[in-house]
């Protein structure tokens, strides 16, 4: 009989429109982290410092990992 602890984590449904496991949510958080930074540098950095974008992307990433 298979050891239950060795089974992959069950995909779950959060606010994202697909089933995700932990790896998916970390991946999406990293993708959003990079995207927010690039967008910020291109359009917002002249008026708002990049560190604000970093804080925002960390918050977004944490929400995605916890509730996505």
């Amino acid at each position: 009989m298979a050891d239950l602890s060795e089974l992959p984590p069950e995909p779950r449904r959060g606010f994202l429109p697909i089933h995700t496991n932990g790896f998916d949510r970390v991946f999406i958080a990293v993708v959003l982290f990079v995207a927010i930074h690039l967008f910020w540098m291109r359009f917002l950095e002249a008026s708002v410092p990049l560190s604000v974008g970093t804080v925002l992307s960390v918050i977004v990433g944490a929400v995605v990992i916890a509730r996505g």
């Binding site: 060795e6 449904r13 089933h19 991946f27 930074h37 690039l38 950095e45």
Partner: protein, 293 residues
């Protein structure tokens, strides 16, 4: 010995090779992407400069134009290859005289090195020397000059890529078509479905995983095309066919701006992964979710 230990032992050679040839170079490029490193600069040593390379990228019109061109090239090349590849795969599912010969000839472009493909197409298309511009002009009065007209140069690179890689799509889809079960098709025919309905509701859904895998492979390849285009147009005329791989090459080698080139490579990798993931999420994961609901 526990089964998981045996499993890890079997995996170990692959993981070691992957780490040495995949992960380590990626980490190296990642580090270089955050540095100012130009061997011909006043200070040729590697200097950490934070996100400056990425900030520069976001305002670099040449880079953004190359990126746009590459996406355009990838879209037209891959879409055409999938369509043509599917039609050819359907053709090869039927019997006709000379099928074996035609299939062999059709597969030949796959075994030719990209640099040789580029050279061959250049000899065919170069103005003043190639037979294609000559006969197009003689027979139709059409002026084909890929060194002069940017649209023609772009179309030439797309057509060359289609010629080179459609056989791969055909072979993949042919294997997928040959392995499809017969029962759903017989059931659809009994239910009175016409050919289009069978294609849309039976063939296409069953082929979707194979089509998606082929799109991933071809999209990743198309986004990193360098050698064929370099031979055919050299990125010109002007920057009309300077796709992102060529642009990165120009920055890294002739200009020796390693840090900036590494940052470009990272952004290209990022976009490739994101595009493939979005395709997967949009076409597969959402469908699975709907089915589960």
């Amino acid at each position: 010995m526990r089964s998981s230990t045996v499993g890890w032992l079997f995996l170990a050679p692959t993981l070691v090779i992957l780490f040495i040839f995949g992960v380590l170079p990626f980490l190296y490029v990642l580090v270089i992407g955050f540095t100012q490193w130009n061997s011909f600069a006043a200070d040729p040593t590697m200097q950490y400069n934070g996100v400056e390379n990425f900030r520069r990228l976001m305002f670099d019109d040449q880079f953004l134009y190359s990126l746009w061109l590459t996406l355009k090239f990838g879209f037209f090349a891959v879409a055409s290859q999938i369509l043509l590849g599917y039609l050819l795969a359907q053709l090869f599912m039927r019997d006709f005289p000379g099928k074996g010969f035609f299939r062999t000839v059709h597969t030949l472009p796959l075994v030719i090195a990209p640099i040789a493909v580029g050279a061959t197409w250049r000899l065919l298309l170069v103005p003043g020397l190639g037979p294609v511009p000559y006969y197009l002009n003689q027979w139709f009065g059409y002026e084909l000059n890929i060194s002069r007209y940017i649209d023609q140069a772009f179309v030439a690179t797309v057509v060359m890529d289609i010629w080179h890689w459609t056989p791969l799509v055909t072979l993949t889809l042919l294997a997928a078509l040959a392995s499809l079960p017969k029962e759903p098709f017989e059931q659809a025919q009994i239910d009175g479905a016409n050919r289009f309905q069978i294609f849309w509701h039976v063939t296409l859904p069953l082929l979707k995983p194979a089509i998606l895998a082929t799109v991933f492979i071809r999209l990743m390849d198309a986004l990193r095309t360098v050698d064929e285009v370099w031979m055919l147009t050299g990125g010109g005329p002007g920057a009309a066919t300077r796709y992102i791989g060529l642009h990165i090459w120009r920055v890294v080698f002739p200009k020796t701006d390693y840090g900036y080139g590494a940052a470009m490579s990272l952004i290209t990798l990022y976009l490739t992964i994101v595009m493939c993931w979005l395709l997967y999420a949009g076409l597969v994961a959402r469908r699975d979710l709907k089915r589960a609901e």
